[in-house]
Amino acid sequence: MSSLEDRLHSAGRETRSVFDRMPLQAADTPSPRTRALAFAGGVVVVALLIAVPAVLSGGEPVPFGSPGSPENPPIGATTSEPATSVDDTSATTIAPAPVFICGGDLPVSVELPDDFDGPTTGASPQAAEPLEDGQLGVHWTGRDGSVEIRWPTDLGYRGADVGPMGTPGNVSFVLFGTDGPGVFADNPHGFPDSEQDSLESDWVANDCHVAQLTVYGPAGSTDASVDTVFGPASEPSVLRLAPTLPRLGENQLVIETRTVEVPPEVVVCQAPSEEPTISETIADPVVHPTPTEALQAYVETVDRWPNLGYFEFVEPDGTITYGKAFEPDPMTVPTPDDGLVIAVSVVPMGDGWAVDGWESSGC
């Protein structure tokens, strides 16, 4: 049998060989996403962006924000009248005053922590851009920032297959409409390069299937993150947001240091049953220059462990325990006084520090 190293290299070589020979797909293949991935020079993303609305509606490609389809009414048309073509000047001129393109009420109920005031109609006072014609804007104001939803999105998004940005830290969602799979959140790690949080649809059937959520941090920055979003797939939808900005800085591995006699205990997992905690003693500790570097390096090796938001408990003997606080309600600020879900022991070792064990609720 070959060595592991040989087998891995062989697997890599074979996989490269297969994918490197993957032909370019023709630009007229049925799937717009495949088309966007065609890798044929010059057509990659533009083809995707233009083709998506057409494919989903079964018609010809529709340019961004193009009026004239029932699913994509022109700005200024009423929601109660059939949409009209821009070529139909008489219909355009007799249209009543502009109303909201998608309606005047958000199709979801939004819940925010108690210290947010709202909802208030209009753009967030922190927004750099005003609302566009026909766009519904609603915002909530908190102690350190605000949350704004725009429906439909700003023009730059409309008609595009606004897939998730892919930048770690962003939150992207599929929302609105009856054919969507529900609401998804993806901000598992809270990476520091978050720019914005937006409600987005990967299956954009029409502009009203996409809304735009922006969380503004202090001083109007949009570098805050949304910690948790819940949303059922079926109506009525409820969007619960637990912005982290009041309590967690971006890229903050350790949020608070406490001197204690004994660190808080790890709580027993409550669901589905009261399973005992799990723990491990590290057989081959890896030494790092500082305690936090030891923690950082270790948590990265463990699947599903967060890499920020730890409390640091310094014990009299110099031992340090890093703990992730139990969070009984994502809408409240977690405190270690309620117990921990992860406790990582870091001890002096050699010229540095090393993780020598951990305990977890196992939830």
Binding site: D20, L37, V46, L48
Partner: protein, 190 residues
């Protein structure tokens, strides 16, 4: 968010124009997006596949990463290594449970993508089995293995892609090899 306004027809120019080059044509002064895609696209799909295990999801994940790069191409193209940035996006998205699930779901709605593409031959059973074991590893270990053995990156390059130290990469690699050696030995497919 405002920079996404660049996703407009104006951007067509960015895709169709040729790369300006310096006088002796040795080094591109400005990288065009389409050139980047031609150079790296297939390899990115492969990386996404090794981490996700689904060809349709891999294409979707790669496309989304490329779309993200396209949207901020002015910024990404100026990076020392734009491919490292896109690899990072692909690698992170490919090990995100929810991202993978969404991409697979989208693939399922496009049945044509679920049919084996005759122009993309299957991998051998041995290779598939190895990647399957890799996908069982913790996410960072998965990424390190794929970047090391599929993308053939050095420790430094992997550290750059993942935004961590070389020491951290070494730790992940060592742990991953230990686990894989045990598991592949137990369920040897050779």
């Amino acid at each position: 968010m405002r920079d996404l306004r660049r996703v407009t027809p104006v951007s067509v120019d960015r895709e169709t124009k040729e790369s300006p080059t310096d006088a002796d044509h040795r080094v591109p002064v400005v990288r065009t997006f389409d050139g980047f895609v031609r150079e790296h696209g297939r390899r990115l799909v492969g990386l996404a596949y090794t981490l996700s295990g689904s060809r349709s999801a891999a294409e979707d994940l790669t496309q989304d990463a490329l779309l993200a790069a396209y949207r901020r191409w002015d910024e990404v193209s100026q990076m020392d290594d734009p491919a490292a940035w896109v690899r990072r996006v692909v690698a992170n998205r490919s090990v995100s449970h929810i991202r993978r699930r969404m991409s697979e779901a989208k693939g399922l709605t496009r049945l044509e993508l679920e049919r084996p593409r005759p122009d993309v031959p299957p991998l051998s059973a041995e290779t598939e089995a190895i990647w399957a074991e890799v996908r069982r590893l913790p996410r960072r270990q998965r990424q390190v293995i794929a970047l090391r053995y599929y993308d053939q990156l050095s420790m430094s390059e992997i550290a750059d892609v993942l935004g961590c130290s070389k020491e951290s990469v070494n730790t992940h690699l060592r742990r991953a090899r230990t686990t894989l050696a045990r598991r592949l030995s137990e369920g040897d497919v050779t």
